[in-house]
């Protein structure tokens, strides 16, 4: 009688401990994703701060390219007004395609290639874009890791019980991936 009670107690304790560690594991992974997203946003902010300098340094030279500056300004405003993560991600993608267009334009102006100030801004911009893609890739890797854990047995039972839902990947919009055409 006493022995079987002890066995049951031990079983419950072991179960409790394993549930706890599974739960904590899920919490950690979920937190890591949020942390990584913050990294992505840091880089977005860096880009956001770079834009005014860049635009001011080249605006006077591209008198016929006012359209792209309008697009950049609009996308930038939308980004600063975005409240949710999704809205921010979407606005960031718009900034991205407008900037990609500007980069192509700059590359087509040979006289700008020798302009030190423009060149250094272009370096910063290219570096920032690369940082964004690196941090986003890491974000997606963490989401994949978390989603795999959430879906696998027996963690999935636990995940259902405590509402650990699958997380969404960051998906780059097609437009941003392909180089835009520029008529000059």
């Amino acid at each position: 009688m006493k022995k079987s009670l002890l066995i049951i107690l031990a079983f419950v304790a072991v179960m409790g401990l394993s549930l706890m560690s599974t739960y904590n594991g899920l919490v950690t992974k979920s937190q890591n994703i949020d942390g990584q997203w913050a990294q992505v946003e840091t880089q977005y902010q860096r880009r956001f701060d770079l834009i005014p300098n860049l635009v001011n340094s080249v605006k006077g030279i591209f008198t016929q390219e006012q359209e792209v500056f309008g697009q950049i300004a609009e996308a930038r405003t939308r980004y600063s007004g975005a409240q949710t993560v999704d809205a921010k991600a979407e606005a960031a993608t718009q900034v991205e395609s407008a900037l990609a267009r500007l980069l192509v334009i700059v590359e087509n102006y040979p006289q700008l290639q020798s302009n030190k100030a423009v060149q250094s801004l272009m370096d910063e911009l290219a570096g920032t874009e690369n940082r964004i893609s690196v941090e986003r890739k890491r974000f997606n890797d963490q989401v994949r890791d978390y989603n795999t854990t959430v879906k696998r047995f027996p963690t999935n039972l636990m995940a259902n019980m405590f509402n650990f839902d699958e997380r969404a990947y960051f998906e780059a919009v097609e437009q941003a991936a392909t180089a835009p055409k520029v008529e000059l």
Partner: protein, 222 residues
């Protein structure tokens, strides 16, 4: 591309200079290795020079990030590593900067080094000077100096000091080696590790210290 990733994972650093594409002459490689070793000893920053034969279809940016992540260049708590990656087949290069050094070695400074210091030499197929001058320019920037076209040759103020340190390090290595193995010349690679460990005759590189990067720096082509 997957195969390449696997190959990349298998590639272990052999020292601060990893000339997998075999474009650096042995004499320059030894000199660079010693230079970078003493640089790490005095600043704790880690600069890795890597040449790869080909990118195998990936971009130089992705390759640099993957390599940096795999090797962990820089101290773990400081992220003070820099990677200079040169790929002769695609004629592309990248300076990948650890998080901790981004404020000093900015993207635009990295871009200037690539454009004004390294690629002009590479265009003349002079990899030795291109890489040496590039490394010296990176070290100068990290020491807070402005970039000059010829930062590599002893034109800057610290040149004499560097030379003295260099001679001291060489003498030190020589003394250590003499004590450890009584005159056996040994291979070039085994001179690495001989002094950082002192007592053991380790012939392999101890590895980098776990730093990370996030795509900062600049890339270029020649």
């Amino acid at each position: 591309m997957i195969w390449f990733a696997v190959l990349l994972l298998l590639a272990k650093p052999v020292g601060y200079v990893n000339d997998f594409a075999e474009i650096i002459s042995p004499a320059v490689e030894t000199k660079l290795e010693t230079r970078l070793e003493s640089f790490t000893a005095s600043t704790s920053n880690e600069l890795a020079v890597v040449t790869l034969k080909s990118l195998e279809g990936d971009t130089v940016e992705n390759t640099a990030v993957a390599l940096f992540e795999q090797w962990g260049i820089g101290q773990k708590d400081k992220d003070n590593g820099v990677l200079l990656l040169v790929v002769p087949n695609e004629r592309e290069l990248k300076i990948e900067v650890g998080y901790g050094l981004e404020p000093v070695l900015t993207d635009s400074r990295a871009g200037t080094i690539i454009r004004d210091v390294i690629t002009p030499k590479f265009k003349e197929n002079d990899y030795d000077s291109g890489i040496t001058d590039g490394v010296e320019a990176i070290l100068a920037v990290l020491a807070g100096q402005e970039i000059t076209q010829s930062a590599g040759t002893n034109n800057y103020d610290g040149g004499r000091v560097v030379l003295i340190i260099f001679i001291m390090v060489i003498t030190f290595i020589w003394l250590m080696r003499r004590r450890v193995r009584q005159g056996l010349p040994g291979s070039r690679k085994s001179s690495w590790g001989g002094w950082s460990s002192g007592k053991s005759n380790r012939s392999s590189f101890g590895g980098f210290s776990g730093g990370s990067s996030g795509g900062g720096g600049a890339s270029g082509r020649w």
